[in-house]
């Protein structure tokens, strides 16, 4: 934590960046909230521990943040993956952001460009943890009817607050399709069918793009595990098309890129 504060202070003092986006203590002991440190003395407010789960890359695209100038961002691996996916999707130009990757022992690695990010991520373990795998297996192991009933029951609780959309780094459309009323694709009110439609549409929009940061589930006030929908789709995209979003700047979006060795097992 100290090295992070020192690094942030040095960067701000040297004016190498105009803002350091990191975490600071939240309203209670269990929460952290984002901090936008613009002055060297703010650096000491930075914290980094298990509470710091939110994907801060989301803020990199906000016009208000971009107006501040070059940003450094305290980055979990998911944050780094987001930045690379932003590169794929034409959101960020190279070297526009300085990523401060925090290692297991609290050591800070400065990653100034996409190539450095790719290299850093290549060394980290990939794939799901055993617990995550079991979670997915339990879900996909359910018979179709049971799984359908499970999601119906889960999504019935959705209140359409769109917190998932706000937290998701890849939901950056300036006009989300839910806000379109000519034509009105998705009903405005929270209703079982409409909730299902919204969450399925969001999951499809993220298939092959989701970098699995889990921010959507963290943000959900109803505690719906919408991240599981995305995770299963990500697994599917990986198995079918070898999609590994967030690990490189190569544009190989599974939904729009044809490769001769695509399995196409789903076409019967």
């Amino acid at each position: 934590m100290e090295s992070l504060q020192k690094k942030a202070r040095a960067l701000l003092e040297a004016a190498a960046v105009k803002v350091v986006i990191g975490y600071t203590a939240g309203s209670d002991a269990e929460r952290a909230r984002p901090l936008f440190a613009r002055f060297p003395e703010q650096a000491q407010q930075l914290i980094y521990d298990a509470r710091c789960r939110q994907n801060l890359a989301t803020y990199l695209l906000k016009p208000e943040v971009q107006a501040l100038g070059k940003a450094a961002v305290v980055a979990r691996p998911a944050t780094l993956r987001t930045i690379l996916q932003y590169a794929v999707e034409n959101r960020l130009v190279d070297e526009a952001v300085l990523a401060l990757a925090v290692g297991d022992a609290g050591e800070i690695t400065e990653l100034a460009n996409f190539a450095a990010l790719e290299e850093y991520l290549a060394k980290l373990p990939r794939g799901l943890t055993t617990a995550e795998e079991q979670e997915i297996a339990r879900l996909t192991g359910m018979p179709l009817e049971q799984r359908w009933a499970f999601w119906h029951a889960e999504l019935e609780r959705c209140i359409k607050c769109y917190a998932c959309r706000a937290a998701c780094p890849l939901c950056y459309c300036t006009r989300c399709i839910t806000d379109v009323n000519q034509p009105q694709w998705l009903p405005v009110a929270s209703s079982p069918l409409g909730n299902l439609e919204w969450n399925v549409v969001r999951a499809m929009h993220l298939a092959g793009r989701c970098i699995d940061c889990g921010s959507c589930a963290d943000a959900c006030p109803e505690g719906i595990r919408i991240d599981l929908l995305n995770r299963v789709l990500a697994q599917e995209a990986q198995a079918q098309f070898g999609a590994e979003p967030g690990y490189s700047t190569r544009r190989e979006y599974a939904l729009s890129t044809f490769k001769p060795d695509d399995k196409e097992e789903f076409i019967r």
Partner: protein, 663 residues
């Protein structure tokens, strides 16, 4: 307020037989916005069309729904009628009451109510239609012909002789293709090279033809009238401008034992070589895979021998970008090798050869100067067995089709052999004799009757060596299925004609369809046999299906005629059914966020980047733009766009949604 006219066609009994047209007319009149609803026996007839025209004028219609047959059939007819009455043709839509309703359902109330539904959704769509105007695109009057065999040569000459420019690309060092390898051609037995080489020379000298040999198509983008092709000119290692074709380098080359591709592996060549003496252009090429210099870094004997210093070891592949308006694919075929047949010895028997190899043996310019000698010891064979349908018509071998030319060339081979070796015996094992063609049947009869070729109807099950001879075991199915065993000195397999090994990747480069055997697929097997499904790309010769020379030449001329038809206009007018990226009020200007994931989804490379700028030139954002000339209106980008910032004109999200809601 919309003022929609609905016109219901009986199509004689086709629709009225199962649909209650009067009820549909009445129901349509009740739909909000419909001010005119009539039915008529044949809407496509002159009086029918006049009804539409008069209604447009009298009722001041803002949209027309014709409930009749498939839009594929008569949409142009009705749209033209609307245009003649002063209504934008794209404000006319068709409800398909025939193929989608009357033809596929029984006569009952449900059928009529489905017809009413179909009319209703089209009325809702038409209310949201906007006037559209055709897009005019210029035509680049240059044709690209891929493949320099007889098909490509013929197509190129026909186009060039009509005064249009042609770029001919051939991947081998010389044009000529398989026809240049043939000895004599059926059914007239005239020398193949004698009739082909003058054409090859004509190609090389034609002012309208640009010839690229030892070159391949690298990329093809664009669309009818406006293709952009990238040609890879492989490094020949020869400066073609200074080389005089004297052949001194070939004399000097130390490597002389490389199997010659032109002689189908029966002859030998050097590492720097000209495939055959009449090659066009008559400039050698260095085979880098064999050349001593490229393999070991030392030699350069040819460079020292060259009197004009034309050898360029450091030559690199060159990429040429050209704009063309039409493409003719004439990439030809390959024949299966003898190694394809386990029952005939896996290609390990030297004296079992393919028909193409026999052509080289029988050719005066071949490795034996036209004397039929068997490859193993050079003996003139006393007995030859010809096996027709080797691989062809054999679903178990994965080749279910007939290779078409084998019956004829096998008869020719047997005949040529008998002409050269009078005492020799020739046997032909066949399944059926397919000799449909002018003078073809007579030719086969001549082989059997005058030249005494023994035709055995049956298949060969096994061929194996015994005492320097080949034992051919087969069956004669015409004599109570008697087993036949022949001791032959040489066996010629009429192996199946197959697509080029890279036909699939070429088809993918050109974005055209191909069949399960990787032959290129024509747009319609009967009525559009030389067009491909991608507009502006045509097909000629055996890359489409097995063909003989006369058929290939006819198809090549047909393709040339299609190209010339396209080039007869300066501009092409195309339907404005294309995708557009939306625009909206500031500060967004467009809901497109510029992620450009649609770029890779577009199969036609129609997505471009567009900068939206303020008046003083400050960049606001970069969004996608659809090139209207390139867009084919497939709608893939529309489906992919997360923010629905792209719409297909004439099939907008709003229209489709209204149609669904109307159901």
């Amino acid at each position: 307020m919309p003022r929609i006219g609905v016109f219901i066609c009986h199509c004689g009994e086709n629709i009225a037989g199962t649909v209650d047209c009067a009820a549909v007319t009445q129901a349509a009149a009740q739909i909000p916005g419909v001010v005119h609803s009539v039915d008529y026996k044949y809407m496509c007839s002159d009086p029918g069309q006049n009804q539409i025209k008069e209604a447009i004028k009298e009722k001041r219609l803002t949209g027309v729904v014709v409930a009749a047959c498939s839009p594929r059939m008569h949409e142009p007819t009705f749209r033209r009628a609307c245009a003649e009455a002063g209504l934008n043709p794209f404000l006319c839509e068709m409800a398909n009451l025939r193929e989608h309703c009357s033809w596929v359902h029984e006569k009952n109330g449900h059928t009529t109510s489905k017809a009413i539904d179909l009319v209703r959704i089209l009325v809702e769509k038409v209310k949201r239609n906007r006037p559209l105007f055709p897009i005019n695109v210029p035509v680049t009057k240059t044709a690209l012909v891929i493949g320099g065999g007889i098909a490509g040569i013929q197509a190129a000459l026909d186009i060039a002789n009509a005064g249009q420019k042609v770029v001919l690309v051939e991947r081998e060092p010389s044009i000529g293709g398989h026809m240049a390898q043939l000895s004599e051609t059926f059914p007239t037995l005239d020398c193949s090279q004698c009739i082909l080489t003058p054409r090859m020379v004509e190609v090389a000298q034609h002012p309208n033809i640009t010839l690229h040999t030892y070159a391949e198509l690298e990329r093809l983008d664009g669309f009818i009238g406006n293709f952009r092709a990238v040609i890879r000119k492989k490094a020949r290692c020869i400066d073609e401008k200074t080389c005089t074709g004297c052949g001194a380098c070939i004399q000097k080359c130390a490597l002389k034992k490389i199997p010659s591709e032109f002689n189908a592996g029966l002859g030998l060549r050097t590492a720097i070589y000209v495939p055959f003496p009449q090659a066009v252009p008559n400039k050698p090429v260095i085979d880098r895979d064999h050349c001593t210099f490229f393999q070991t870094g030392r030699c350069k004997l040819c460079e020292r021998a060259c009197p004009t210093k034309a050898i360029r070891f450091d030559q690199q592949d060159e990429f040429i970008e050209i704009n063309v308006g039409a493409v003719v694919a004439a990439t030809g075929y390959e024949v299966k090798g003898t190694d394809f047949f386990p029952e005939y010895g896996y290609g390990e028997q030297k004296d079992i050869i393919t028909g193409l190899q026999f052509e080289r043996l029988a050719s005066a310019s071949g490795p034996t100067q036209g004397v039929i000698k068997r490859p193993s010891d050079g003996k003139v064979p006393d007995t030859i067995v010809f096996v027709a349908c080797a691989g062809s018509r054999d679903p178990a071998k994965g080749i279910a089709y007939c290779s078409k030319i084998c019956c004829m060339y096998t008869a020719k081979h047997a005949m040529l052999y008998k002409h050269k070796v009078h005492a020799g015996k020739a046997y032909v094992f066949y399944m059926d004799i397919r000799a449909g063609g002018k003078m073809y049947e007579e030719f086969v009869r001549r082989a059997i009757e005058e030249d005494e070729v023994h035709y055995v109807r049956g298949r060969v099950s096994r061929i194996y060596p015994r005492d320097g001879q080949l034992v051919v075991k087969g069956v004669d199915t015409l004599l109570n299925s008697r087993p036949v065993e022949i001791e032959a000195d040489m066996v010629v397999l009429a192996t199946a004609m197959v697509a080029q090994p890279d036909a699939e990747s070429l088809a993918q480069k050109m974005k055209v369809s191909y069949d399960q055997y990787h032959f290129l697929a024509e747009a319609h097997p009967k009525l559009r046999p030389v067009e491909m499904n991608t507009a502006g790309i045509f097909v000629a010769g055996a890359c489409q299906a097995p063909k003989d020379i006369p058929e290939t030449v006819a198809q090549a001329s047909a393709a040339a005629a299609k190209v010339l038809g396209l080039f007869s206009r300066d501009e092409l007018s195309r339907e404005p059914v294309v995708a557009v990226v939306n625009r909206c009020a500031p500060p967004e200007f467009s809901t497109c966020v510029g992620c450009f994931l649609c770029e890779s989804a577009c199969a036609y490379q129609a997505i471009e980047h567009e900068d939206i700028k303020t008046r003083d030139g400050k960049l606001i954002k970069t969004v996608a733009r659809v090139n209207q000339g390139v867009c084919q209106g497939c709608g893939t980008c529309v489906a992919l766009c997360r923010s629905k910032s792209i719409d297909l004109q004439g099939f907008s999200n709003e229209q489709i949604f209204a149609e669904l809601v109307a159901l």
